[in-house]
Protein backbone atom coordinates (compact mmCIF):
# COMPACT_ATOMS: atom_id res chain seq x y z
CA UNK A 1 0.00 0.00 0.00
CA UNK A 2 1.32 3.44 -0.91
CA UNK A 3 2.58 5.93 1.66
CA UNK A 4 2.44 9.72 1.98
CA UNK A 5 5.67 11.72 2.46
CA UNK A 6 4.97 11.95 6.20
CA UNK A 7 4.38 8.20 6.48
CA UNK A 8 7.64 7.45 4.63
CA UNK A 9 9.68 9.62 7.00
CA UNK A 10 8.04 7.99 10.03
CA UNK A 11 8.61 4.48 8.62
CA UNK A 12 12.30 5.20 7.97
CA UNK A 13 12.83 6.51 11.51
CA UNK A 14 11.01 3.51 13.00
CA UNK A 15 13.21 1.16 10.90
CA UNK A 16 10.14 -0.24 9.15
CA UNK A 17 9.66 -0.81 5.44
CA UNK A 18 6.13 0.53 5.58
CA UNK A 19 3.58 1.98 7.98
CA UNK A 20 -0.10 2.74 7.66
CA UNK A 21 -2.41 5.32 9.17
CA UNK A 22 -3.37 4.55 12.75
CA UNK A 23 -0.32 2.37 13.45
CA UNK A 24 1.55 3.11 16.70
CA UNK A 25 5.31 3.31 16.27
CA UNK A 26 8.40 4.28 18.20
CA UNK A 27 10.75 6.37 16.06
CA UNK A 28 14.27 7.83 16.31
CA UNK A 29 14.46 11.61 16.50
CA UNK A 30 16.90 13.84 14.62
CA UNK A 31 16.19 16.85 16.83
CA UNK A 32 14.35 17.65 20.06
CA UNK A 33 13.45 21.28 20.76
CA UNK A 34 12.15 23.38 23.65
CA UNK A 35 11.97 27.06 24.57
CA UNK A 36 12.19 29.11 27.77
CA UNK A 37 8.55 28.37 28.65
CA UNK A 38 8.39 24.64 27.90
CA UNK A 39 11.97 23.63 28.78
CA UNK A 40 11.67 24.31 32.55
CA UNK A 41 8.66 21.96 32.77
CA UNK A 42 10.60 19.33 30.76
CA UNK A 43 13.61 19.78 33.03
CA UNK A 44 11.39 19.21 36.11
CA UNK A 45 10.21 15.91 34.60
CA UNK A 46 13.71 15.00 33.48
CA UNK A 47 15.15 15.59 36.95
CA UNK A 48 12.31 13.75 38.69
CA UNK A 49 13.16 10.71 36.57
CA UNK A 50 16.89 11.12 37.28
CA UNK A 51 17.38 11.10 33.52
CA UNK A 52 20.48 11.60 31.44
CA UNK A 53 20.68 13.13 27.99
CA UNK A 54 21.08 10.60 25.20
CA UNK A 55 22.47 12.88 22.43
CA UNK A 56 23.52 16.34 23.59
CA UNK A 57 24.03 17.48 19.98
CA UNK A 58 20.47 16.64 18.94
CA UNK A 59 18.75 18.96 21.41
CA UNK A 60 18.00 22.64 20.83
CA UNK A 61 17.00 25.01 23.62
CA UNK A 62 15.98 28.47 22.41
CA UNK A 63 15.31 31.32 24.85
CA UNK A 64 12.86 33.27 22.72
CA UNK A 65 9.42 33.59 24.34
CA UNK A 66 9.88 35.87 27.34
CA UNK A 67 13.48 36.75 26.51
CA UNK A 68 15.14 39.20 26.87
CA UNK A 69 13.73 38.38 30.31
CA UNK A 70 10.49 40.27 30.84
CA UNK A 71 10.40 39.94 34.63
CA UNK A 72 12.08 38.18 37.54
CA UNK A 73 10.09 34.96 37.20
CA UNK A 74 10.90 34.73 33.47
CA UNK A 75 14.56 35.37 34.31
CA UNK A 76 14.48 32.44 36.74
CA UNK A 77 13.01 30.17 34.06
CA UNK A 78 15.74 31.10 31.59
CA UNK A 79 18.40 30.71 34.29
CA UNK A 80 17.16 27.23 35.11
CA UNK A 81 17.32 26.26 31.43
CA UNK A 82 20.76 27.84 30.98
CA UNK A 83 22.15 25.91 33.94
CA UNK A 84 20.64 22.69 32.62
CA UNK A 85 22.15 23.30 29.17
CA UNK A 86 25.58 23.86 30.72
CA UNK A 87 25.39 20.84 33.02
CA UNK A 88 24.21 18.55 30.21
CA UNK A 89 26.57 20.04 27.59
CA UNK A 90 23.70 20.84 25.20
CA UNK A 91 25.39 22.00 21.97
CA UNK A 92 22.50 24.06 20.62
CA UNK A 93 21.61 26.41 23.45
CA UNK A 94 20.58 29.85 22.17
CA UNK A 95 20.54 32.72 24.62
CA UNK A 96 20.05 36.46 24.08
CA UNK A 97 22.55 37.69 21.49
CA UNK A 98 22.53 34.41 19.57
CA UNK A 99 18.89 33.47 19.82
CA UNK A 100 16.09 34.15 17.39
CA UNK A 101 12.51 32.94 17.23
CA UNK A 102 13.02 29.17 17.27
CA UNK A 103 11.23 28.22 14.06
CA UNK A 104 13.03 30.85 12.03
CA UNK A 105 16.33 30.16 13.79
CA UNK A 106 16.65 26.39 13.48
CA UNK A 107 16.35 26.18 9.67
CA UNK A 108 18.65 29.20 9.34
CA UNK A 109 21.24 27.49 11.57
CA UNK A 110 20.97 24.31 9.49
CA UNK A 111 19.67 22.20 12.39
CA UNK A 112 16.85 20.72 10.31
CA UNK A 113 17.30 18.97 6.97
CA UNK A 114 15.03 17.28 4.43
CA UNK A 115 13.79 13.89 5.61
CA UNK A 116 14.43 14.66 9.30
CA UNK A 117 12.09 13.72 12.15
CA UNK A 118 11.78 16.52 14.70
CA UNK A 119 9.69 17.05 17.83
CA UNK A 120 9.51 20.32 19.71
CA UNK A 121 7.81 21.46 22.87
CA UNK A 122 6.21 24.26 20.90
CA UNK A 123 3.12 23.81 18.78
CA UNK A 124 4.61 25.66 15.79
CA UNK A 125 7.36 23.05 15.42
CA UNK A 126 5.38 21.96 12.34
CA UNK A 127 7.12 24.82 10.47
CA UNK A 128 9.99 22.61 9.25
CA UNK A 129 7.68 20.69 6.94
CA UNK A 130 8.65 23.42 4.46
CA UNK A 131 12.03 21.66 4.24
CA UNK A 132 10.51 18.24 3.60
CA UNK A 133 10.96 17.20 7.23
CA UNK A 134 8.34 15.59 9.48
CA UNK A 135 8.12 17.89 12.47
CA UNK A 136 5.46 18.21 15.10
CA UNK A 137 4.70 19.90 18.38
CA UNK A 138 4.57 17.97 21.64
CA UNK A 139 4.42 18.83 25.33
CA UNK A 140 7.21 19.13 27.85
CA UNK A 141 7.00 15.52 29.09
CA UNK A 142 7.33 14.13 25.57
CA UNK A 143 10.26 16.48 25.12
CA UNK A 144 11.87 15.25 28.37
CA UNK A 145 11.42 11.65 27.24
CA UNK A 146 12.89 12.65 23.87
CA UNK A 147 16.00 14.02 25.58
CA UNK A 148 16.36 10.78 27.56
CA UNK A 149 15.72 8.29 24.78
CA UNK A 150 16.11 10.30 21.52
CA UNK A 151 12.87 8.58 20.56
CA UNK A 152 9.17 9.36 20.59
CA UNK A 153 5.99 7.36 20.03
CA UNK A 154 3.68 8.38 17.21
CA UNK A 155 0.35 7.34 15.84
CA UNK A 156 0.93 7.34 12.08
CA UNK A 157 -1.33 10.07 10.70
CA UNK A 158 -3.63 9.90 7.70
CA UNK A 159 -3.41 12.88 5.38
CA UNK A 160 -5.27 15.58 3.55
CA UNK A 161 -3.72 16.51 0.21
CA UNK A 162 -3.76 20.11 -0.99
CA UNK A 163 -3.10 20.33 -4.72
CA UNK A 164 -1.92 23.83 -5.56
CA UNK A 165 -1.99 25.31 -9.03
CA UNK A 166 -1.31 28.72 -10.57
CA UNK A 167 0.57 31.57 -8.94
CA UNK A 168 -0.34 34.05 -6.22
CA UNK A 169 -1.63 37.47 -7.33
CA UNK A 170 0.12 40.73 -6.35
CA UNK A 171 0.02 41.40 -2.57
CA UNK A 172 -1.19 37.85 -1.85
CA UNK A 173 1.24 35.64 0.09
CA UNK A 174 1.71 32.26 1.75
CA UNK A 175 -0.02 33.75 4.81
CA UNK A 176 -3.18 34.42 2.81
CA UNK A 177 -3.01 30.86 1.44
CA UNK A 178 -2.84 29.22 4.87
CA UNK A 179 -5.50 31.53 6.36
CA UNK A 180 -7.72 30.70 3.37
CA UNK A 181 -7.21 26.97 4.01
CA UNK A 182 -7.97 27.29 7.74
CA UNK A 183 -11.11 29.26 6.84
CA UNK A 184 -12.07 26.45 4.49
CA UNK A 185 -11.53 23.44 6.76
CA UNK A 186 -11.79 24.98 10.26
CA UNK A 187 -9.53 24.96 13.31
CA UNK A 188 -9.98 21.20 13.71
CA UNK A 189 -10.32 20.46 9.99
CA UNK A 190 -7.04 18.54 9.90
CA UNK A 191 -7.09 17.24 13.49
CA UNK A 192 -4.52 14.42 13.98
CA UNK A 193 -3.76 14.48 10.21
CA UNK A 194 -0.90 15.51 7.95
CA UNK A 195 -1.45 18.37 5.54
CA UNK A 196 0.54 17.52 2.43
CA UNK A 197 0.99 20.23 -0.18
CA UNK A 198 1.60 19.26 -3.76
CA UNK A 199 0.91 20.31 -7.35
CA UNK A 200 2.57 22.61 -9.86
CA UNK A 201 1.68 25.66 -7.76
CA UNK A 202 4.25 24.65 -5.13
CA UNK A 203 7.16 25.77 -7.31
CA UNK A 204 5.80 29.33 -7.36
CA UNK A 205 5.90 29.58 -3.56
CA UNK A 206 9.09 30.96 -1.98
CA UNK A 207 10.73 29.09 0.90
CA UNK A 208 9.52 31.83 3.26
CA UNK A 209 5.96 31.32 2.02
CA UNK A 210 6.28 27.57 2.60
CA UNK A 211 7.57 28.13 6.16
CA UNK A 212 4.54 30.34 6.84
CA UNK A 213 2.11 27.77 5.42
CA UNK A 214 3.55 24.83 7.40
CA UNK A 215 3.86 27.00 10.52
CA UNK A 216 0.09 27.41 10.73
CA UNK A 217 -0.82 23.77 9.97
CA UNK A 218 -1.39 23.43 13.74
CA UNK A 219 -4.09 26.13 13.52
CA UNK A 220 -6.13 23.61 11.51
CA UNK A 221 -5.38 21.02 14.20
CA UNK A 222 -2.87 19.16 12.00
CA UNK A 223 -0.08 16.97 13.30
CA UNK A 224 2.23 18.30 10.59
CA UNK A 225 2.30 20.18 7.32
CA UNK A 226 4.75 19.17 4.63
CA UNK A 227 5.97 20.24 1.19
CA UNK A 228 7.79 18.07 -1.35
CA UNK A 229 11.49 18.86 -1.81
CA UNK A 230 12.21 20.77 -5.03
CA UNK A 231 15.02 22.94 -6.45
CA UNK A 232 14.12 25.81 -4.11
CA UNK A 233 14.32 23.53 -1.06
CA UNK A 234 17.65 22.09 -2.19
CA UNK A 235 19.07 25.56 -2.81
CA UNK A 236 17.95 26.67 0.68
CA UNK A 237 19.44 23.58 2.31
CA UNK A 238 22.69 23.95 0.38
CA UNK A 239 23.08 27.44 1.78
CA UNK A 240 22.15 26.59 5.39
CA UNK A 241 22.48 22.90 6.21
CA UNK A 242 25.56 20.68 6.21
CA UNK A 243 23.58 17.44 6.35
CA UNK A 244 22.86 15.81 2.97
CA UNK A 245 19.11 16.01 2.22
CA UNK A 246 17.09 12.80 2.29
CA UNK A 247 14.28 13.27 -0.19
CA UNK A 248 10.99 11.38 0.10
CA UNK A 249 8.18 11.50 -2.43
CA UNK A 250 4.63 10.35 -1.88
CA UNK A 251 3.75 7.09 -3.62
CA UNK A 252 1.35 7.38 -6.53
CA UNK A 253 -1.07 5.13 -4.69
CA UNK A 254 -0.67 6.91 -1.35
CA UNK A 255 -3.99 7.15 0.47
CA UNK A 256 -5.42 10.57 1.26
CA UNK A 257 -8.59 11.09 3.26
CA UNK A 258 -9.42 14.04 1.10
CA UNK A 259 -7.93 16.07 -1.74
CA UNK A 260 -8.53 19.81 -1.92
CA UNK A 261 -7.53 21.75 -5.03
CA UNK A 262 -6.58 25.37 -4.68
CA UNK A 263 -6.00 27.77 -7.57
CA UNK A 264 -3.53 30.25 -6.09
CA UNK A 265 -4.46 32.87 -8.69
CA UNK A 266 -7.98 33.14 -7.22
CA UNK A 267 -6.84 33.92 -3.66
CA UNK A 268 -7.34 37.34 -2.08
CA UNK A 269 -5.71 39.06 0.89
CA UNK A 270 -7.25 37.22 3.84
CA UNK A 271 -7.67 38.27 7.48
CA UNK A 272 -8.77 36.12 10.43
CA UNK A 273 -11.14 38.07 12.64
CA UNK A 274 -11.46 37.40 16.39
CA UNK A 275 -11.40 34.94 18.05
CA UNK A 276 -10.46 31.96 15.90
CA UNK A 277 -8.09 31.63 12.94
CA UNK A 278 -10.96 30.07 10.95
CA UNK A 279 -12.96 33.33 11.00
CA UNK A 280 -11.46 34.49 7.72
CA UNK A 281 -12.68 37.44 5.71
CA UNK A 282 -11.55 38.91 2.38
CA UNK A 283 -11.46 42.67 1.59
CA UNK A 284 -15.11 43.03 0.54
CA UNK A 285 -16.11 41.82 4.03
CA UNK A 286 -13.80 44.17 5.97
CA UNK A 287 -15.10 47.36 7.56
CA UNK A 288 -13.67 50.61 8.89
CA UNK A 289 -13.19 49.55 12.51
CA UNK A 290 -10.33 51.46 14.10
CA UNK A 291 -7.12 49.60 14.98
CA UNK A 292 -4.59 50.56 17.63
CA UNK A 293 -1.56 48.34 17.14
CA UNK A 294 0.19 46.49 14.32
CA UNK A 295 2.66 43.69 15.04
CA UNK A 296 4.95 42.42 12.30
CA UNK A 297 7.05 39.43 13.23
CA UNK A 298 6.77 35.98 14.92
CA UNK A 299 7.66 32.46 13.78
CA UNK A 300 4.96 32.90 11.15
CA UNK A 301 6.06 36.13 9.46
CA UNK A 302 9.29 37.55 10.87
CA UNK A 303 11.56 36.52 7.99
CA UNK A 304 13.47 38.79 5.63
CA UNK A 305 10.95 38.61 2.78
CA UNK A 306 8.20 39.58 5.22
CA UNK A 307 10.19 42.63 6.34
CA UNK A 308 10.91 43.58 2.72
CA UNK A 309 7.18 43.47 1.94
CA UNK A 310 6.47 45.73 4.91
CA UNK A 311 9.19 48.16 3.83
CA UNK A 312 7.78 48.20 0.29
CA UNK A 313 4.48 49.43 1.71
CA UNK A 314 5.87 51.81 4.35
CA UNK A 315 8.48 53.48 2.12
CA UNK A 316 7.75 57.21 2.12
CA UNK A 317 4.58 56.77 4.18
CA UNK A 318 3.69 57.38 7.84
CA UNK A 319 2.10 55.10 10.40
CA UNK A 320 -1.41 56.34 11.29
CA UNK A 321 -1.43 58.59 14.36
CA UNK A 322 -3.66 56.18 16.31
CA UNK A 323 -1.45 53.15 15.65
CA UNK A 324 1.66 51.77 17.36
CA UNK A 325 3.57 49.68 14.83
CA UNK A 326 6.04 47.11 16.20
CA UNK A 327 8.43 45.31 13.83
CA UNK A 328 10.28 42.25 15.18
CA UNK A 329 12.88 40.57 12.94
CA UNK A 330 12.82 36.88 13.84
CA UNK A 331 16.57 36.25 14.19
CA UNK A 332 19.81 38.17 14.62
CA UNK A 333 20.80 37.29 11.06
CA UNK A 334 17.52 38.64 9.68
CA UNK A 335 17.94 41.71 11.90
CA UNK A 336 21.39 42.41 10.48
CA UNK A 337 20.28 41.77 6.93
CA UNK A 338 17.28 44.09 7.28
CA UNK A 339 19.55 46.74 8.77
CA UNK A 340 22.07 46.47 5.93
CA UNK A 341 19.29 46.68 3.35
CA UNK A 342 18.12 49.93 4.92
CA UNK A 343 14.75 48.54 5.93
CA UNK A 344 15.10 49.95 9.44
CA UNK A 345 15.43 53.48 8.04
CA UNK A 346 12.11 52.97 6.29
CA UNK A 347 10.43 51.55 9.40
CA UNK A 348 11.72 54.21 11.76
CA UNK A 349 11.08 57.11 9.39
CA UNK A 350 7.51 55.83 9.03
CA UNK A 351 7.09 55.89 12.81
CA UNK A 352 7.38 52.16 13.53
CA UNK A 353 9.69 50.66 16.14
CA UNK A 354 12.12 47.79 15.67
CA UNK A 355 12.54 45.22 18.46
CA UNK A 356 15.19 42.61 19.14
CA UNK A 357 14.02 39.07 18.22
CA UNK A 358 11.39 37.72 20.64
CA UNK A 359 8.02 35.94 20.52
CA UNK A 360 6.92 38.70 22.94
CA UNK A 361 3.55 40.14 21.93
CA UNK A 362 2.37 37.14 19.86
CA UNK A 363 1.36 35.31 23.03
CA UNK A 364 0.73 38.37 25.16
CA UNK A 365 4.10 38.06 26.87
CA UNK A 366 5.70 41.48 26.52
CA UNK A 367 6.71 44.15 23.95
CA UNK A 368 3.21 45.24 22.96
CA UNK A 369 0.40 44.07 25.22
CA UNK A 370 -3.12 45.26 24.41
CA UNK A 371 -5.40 47.15 26.81
CA UNK A 372 -9.13 46.47 27.21
CA UNK A 373 -11.00 46.85 23.93
CA UNK A 374 -7.89 47.51 21.82
CA UNK A 375 -7.50 45.98 18.38
CA UNK A 376 -4.30 44.74 16.74
CA UNK A 377 -3.62 43.66 13.18
CA UNK A 378 -0.85 41.13 13.50
CA UNK A 379 1.21 38.85 11.28
CA UNK A 380 1.23 36.27 14.09
CA UNK A 381 -0.71 33.00 14.22
CA UNK A 382 -3.42 33.03 16.90
CA UNK A 383 -6.28 35.38 17.70
CA UNK A 384 -7.80 33.55 20.67
CA UNK A 385 -9.52 35.47 23.49
CA UNK A 386 -6.86 37.39 25.45
CA UNK A 387 -4.03 36.12 23.25
CA UNK A 388 -2.22 39.48 23.03
CA UNK A 389 -3.37 41.02 26.28
CA UNK A 390 -6.64 42.03 27.92
CA UNK A 391 -9.48 39.54 27.64
CA UNK A 392 -11.57 42.10 25.69
CA UNK A 393 -8.78 43.01 23.24
CA UNK A 394 -8.92 41.73 19.66
CA UNK A 395 -6.34 40.29 17.26
CA UNK A 396 -6.76 40.23 13.47
CA UNK A 397 -4.35 37.85 11.74
CA UNK A 398 -2.97 39.11 8.44
CA UNK A 399 -0.09 39.03 5.98
CA UNK A 400 2.82 41.51 6.24
CA UNK A 401 1.39 43.46 3.27
CA UNK A 402 -2.02 43.85 4.92
CA UNK A 403 -0.48 44.59 8.33
CA UNK A 404 1.68 47.37 6.86
CA UNK A 405 -1.16 48.92 4.86
CA UNK A 406 -3.38 48.73 7.96
CA UNK A 407 -0.72 50.50 10.02
CA UNK A 408 -0.79 53.41 7.56
CA UNK A 409 -4.57 53.72 7.29
CA UNK A 410 -5.50 52.89 10.88
CA UNK A 411 -7.98 50.28 9.68
CA UNK A 412 -7.70 46.85 8.03
CA UNK A 413 -6.55 47.52 4.48
CA UNK A 414 -4.61 46.20 1.50
CA UNK A 415 -1.70 48.06 -0.14
CA UNK A 416 -4.00 48.66 -3.15
CA UNK A 417 -6.12 50.92 -0.96
CA UNK A 418 -3.25 53.30 -0.15
Amino acid sequence: MGMTISQKILAAHAHLTSVKAGQLINADLDLVLANDITAPVAINEFEKAGGCVRCNDKIALVMDHFAPNKDIKAAEQVKKTREFARAQHISHFYDVGRMGIEHALLPEQGLVGAGDLVIGADSHTCTYGALGAFSTGVGSTDMAAGMMTQQCWFKVPSAIRFVLKGTLPRYVTGKDLILHIIGLIGVDGALYRSMEFTGEGVSALSMDDRFTVCNMAIEAGAKNGIFPVDDKTLAYLKEHCQKPPVVYEADEDAIYEKTIEIDLSTLKPTVSFPHLPENTKTPEEWDDREIHQVVIGSCTNGRISDLRQVAEVLKGRKIHENVRCIVIPATQKIYLQAMHEGLFDTFIEAGAIVSTPTCGPCLGGHMGILAAGERAVSTTNRNFVGRMGHVTSEVYLASPYVAAASAVLGRIATPDQL
Binding site: L24, I37, T38, P40, V41, N44, E45, K48, A49, G51, H65, F66, K70, D71, K73, A74, Q77, G120, A121, D122, S123, T125, G137, V138, G139, S140, T141, D142, A144, A145, M148, T149, W153, V187, D188, L191, Y192, G221, K223, L276, L363, G364, G365, R382, F384, V385, G386, R387, V391
Partner: protein
Protein backbone atom coordinates in the same frame (compact mmCIF):
# COMPACT_ATOMS: atom_id res chain seq x y z
CA UNK B 1 -10.12 4.53 39.54
CA UNK B 2 -13.54 5.96 40.43
CA UNK B 3 -14.15 9.70 40.17
CA UNK B 4 -17.19 11.78 41.05
CA UNK B 5 -17.94 15.49 41.07
CA UNK B 6 -19.91 18.48 39.84
CA UNK B 7 -19.71 19.40 36.17
CA UNK B 8 -18.25 22.55 34.64
CA UNK B 9 -19.36 22.71 31.01
CA UNK B 10 -17.87 24.66 28.07
CA UNK B 11 -18.29 24.76 24.27
CA UNK B 12 -16.00 23.96 21.34
CA UNK B 13 -12.40 25.04 20.66
CA UNK B 14 -11.52 25.83 24.29
CA UNK B 15 -7.92 26.87 23.63
CA UNK B 16 -4.85 26.63 25.85
CA UNK B 17 -4.66 30.44 26.04
CA UNK B 18 -7.94 30.56 27.96
CA UNK B 19 -7.10 27.45 30.00
CA UNK B 20 -3.92 29.15 31.20
CA UNK B 21 -3.13 32.58 29.74
CA UNK B 22 0.48 33.09 28.62
CA UNK B 23 0.89 35.99 31.05
CA UNK B 24 1.18 33.33 33.78
CA UNK B 25 3.67 31.12 31.95
CA UNK B 26 6.63 32.75 33.63
CA UNK B 27 6.35 30.02 36.25
CA UNK B 28 6.27 26.23 36.13
CA UNK B 29 4.72 25.92 39.62
CA UNK B 30 1.61 23.76 39.24
CA UNK B 31 -0.18 25.44 42.19
CA UNK B 32 0.43 28.91 40.83
CA UNK B 33 -0.77 27.89 37.36
CA UNK B 34 -3.88 26.27 38.86
CA UNK B 35 -4.76 29.51 40.65
CA UNK B 36 -5.38 31.09 37.19
CA UNK B 37 -6.97 28.09 35.49
CA UNK B 38 -9.75 28.96 32.98
CA UNK B 39 -9.55 32.60 34.10
CA UNK B 40 -10.19 34.16 30.67
CA UNK B 41 -13.24 32.01 29.91
CA UNK B 42 -14.73 31.59 33.40
CA UNK B 43 -13.64 34.02 36.11
CA UNK B 44 -15.41 32.00 38.81
CA UNK B 45 -13.90 28.61 37.93
CA UNK B 46 -11.05 28.74 40.44
CA UNK B 47 -13.38 30.05 43.16
CA UNK B 48 -15.96 27.29 42.63
CA UNK B 49 -13.99 24.21 41.60
CA UNK B 50 -13.71 21.45 44.18
CA UNK B 51 -11.54 18.39 44.30
CA UNK B 52 -13.03 15.67 42.10
CA UNK B 53 -15.07 17.97 39.85
CA UNK B 54 -15.45 17.09 36.18
CA UNK B 55 -14.91 19.28 33.14
CA UNK B 56 -17.10 18.67 30.06
CA UNK B 57 -16.55 20.36 26.69
CA UNK B 58 -17.52 19.96 23.05
CA UNK B 59 -15.10 19.68 20.08
CA UNK B 60 -11.33 20.22 19.87
CA UNK B 61 -10.70 20.82 23.59
CA UNK B 62 -7.22 22.20 24.32
CA UNK B 63 -6.41 23.53 20.86
CA UNK B 64 -3.55 25.95 20.30
CA UNK B 65 -0.27 25.96 22.12
CA UNK B 66 1.72 22.90 23.23
CA UNK B 67 1.95 24.23 26.79
CA UNK B 68 1.76 21.32 29.23
CA UNK B 69 0.92 23.99 31.79
CA UNK B 70 -2.69 23.68 30.52
CA UNK B 71 -3.47 20.07 31.59
CA UNK B 72 -1.23 20.62 34.62
CA UNK B 73 -3.31 23.64 35.73
CA UNK B 74 -6.57 21.71 35.18
CA UNK B 75 -5.32 18.68 37.11
CA UNK B 76 -3.92 20.73 39.98
CA UNK B 77 -7.11 22.79 40.24
CA UNK B 78 -8.83 19.60 41.42
CA UNK B 79 -10.50 18.43 38.19
CA UNK B 80 -10.55 14.61 38.15
CA UNK B 81 -11.67 14.03 34.55
CA UNK B 82 -12.21 15.90 31.27
CA UNK B 83 -14.91 14.55 28.95
CA UNK B 84 -15.10 16.03 25.42
CA UNK B 85 -16.30 15.19 21.93
CA UNK B 86 -12.69 15.46 20.78
CA UNK B 87 -9.33 16.77 21.99
CA UNK B 88 -6.61 18.71 20.15
CA UNK B 89 -3.76 16.25 19.63
CA UNK B 90 -0.99 17.88 21.68
CA UNK B 91 -3.36 18.37 24.62
CA UNK B 92 -4.41 14.72 24.33
CA UNK B 93 -0.78 13.53 24.54
CA UNK B 94 0.04 15.94 27.35
CA UNK B 95 -2.95 14.90 29.46
CA UNK B 96 -1.99 11.23 29.18
CA UNK B 97 1.68 12.00 29.83
CA UNK B 98 0.98 13.87 33.07
CA UNK B 99 -1.84 11.62 34.26
CA UNK B 100 -4.91 13.83 33.77
CA UNK B 101 -7.77 11.45 32.91
CA UNK B 102 -9.56 12.34 29.66
CA UNK B 103 -12.36 10.61 27.79
CA UNK B 104 -14.03 11.11 24.42
CA UNK B 105 -17.80 10.60 24.62
CA UNK B 106 -20.05 12.82 22.43
CA UNK B 107 -23.27 11.27 23.82
CA UNK B 108 -22.29 12.15 27.38
CA UNK B 109 -21.24 15.65 26.33
CA UNK B 110 -24.61 16.23 24.69
CA UNK B 111 -26.63 15.06 27.68
CA UNK B 112 -24.64 16.33 30.65
CA UNK B 113 -25.46 19.82 31.89
CA UNK B 114 -23.49 22.31 33.94
CA UNK B 115 -23.83 21.55 37.65
CA UNK B 116 -24.87 17.90 37.20
CA UNK B 117 -23.17 15.38 39.44
CA UNK B 118 -21.32 12.85 37.31
CA UNK B 119 -19.31 9.79 38.22
CA UNK B 120 -17.02 7.59 36.16
CA UNK B 121 -15.12 4.35 36.59
CA UNK B 122 -12.07 5.20 34.51
CA UNK B 123 -11.00 1.61 33.94
CA UNK B 124 -14.26 0.78 32.14
CA UNK B 125 -15.09 4.22 30.71
CA UNK B 126 -18.62 4.00 32.13
CA UNK B 127 -19.89 7.51 32.81
CA UNK B 128 -22.97 7.98 35.00
CA UNK B 129 -24.95 11.17 35.33
CA UNK B 130 -25.98 10.86 38.99
CA UNK B 131 -28.37 13.79 38.61
CA UNK B 132 -30.46 12.22 35.82
CA UNK B 133 -29.56 8.54 36.11
CA UNK B 134 -28.33 8.35 32.50
CA UNK B 135 -25.34 6.19 31.69
CA UNK B 136 -22.78 6.40 28.86
CA UNK B 137 -19.75 4.44 27.72
CA UNK B 138 -16.65 6.28 26.47
CA UNK B 139 -14.29 4.96 23.80
CA UNK B 140 -11.58 2.89 25.53
CA UNK B 141 -7.94 3.91 25.03
CA UNK B 142 -5.76 1.83 22.70
CA UNK B 143 -3.77 -0.69 24.84
CA UNK B 144 -0.50 1.16 24.14
CA UNK B 145 -1.84 4.34 25.70
CA UNK B 146 -3.46 2.41 28.55
CA UNK B 147 0.02 1.12 29.54
CA UNK B 148 1.25 4.73 29.85
CA UNK B 149 -1.78 5.61 31.97
CA UNK B 150 -1.39 2.48 34.11
CA UNK B 151 2.28 3.27 34.73
CA UNK B 152 1.33 6.74 36.00
CA UNK B 153 2.52 8.78 33.02
CA UNK B 154 5.09 8.65 30.23
CA UNK B 155 8.27 9.08 32.25
CA UNK B 156 7.26 6.36 34.70
CA UNK B 157 6.31 4.05 31.83
CA UNK B 158 9.82 4.51 30.39
CA UNK B 159 11.45 3.52 33.66
CA UNK B 160 9.13 0.48 33.85
CA UNK B 161 10.46 -0.56 30.43
CA UNK B 162 14.05 -0.31 31.58
Amino acid sequence: MFVKGHVFKYGSDVDTDVIIPARYLNTSSAEELASHCMEDIDKDFVKNVQKGDILVAEDNFGCGSSREHAPLAIKTSGISLVIANSFARIFYRNAINIGLPILECPKAVEAIQKGDVVSCELSTGIIKNETTGEQFRAEPFPPFIQTIIDAGGLIKSLSHKE
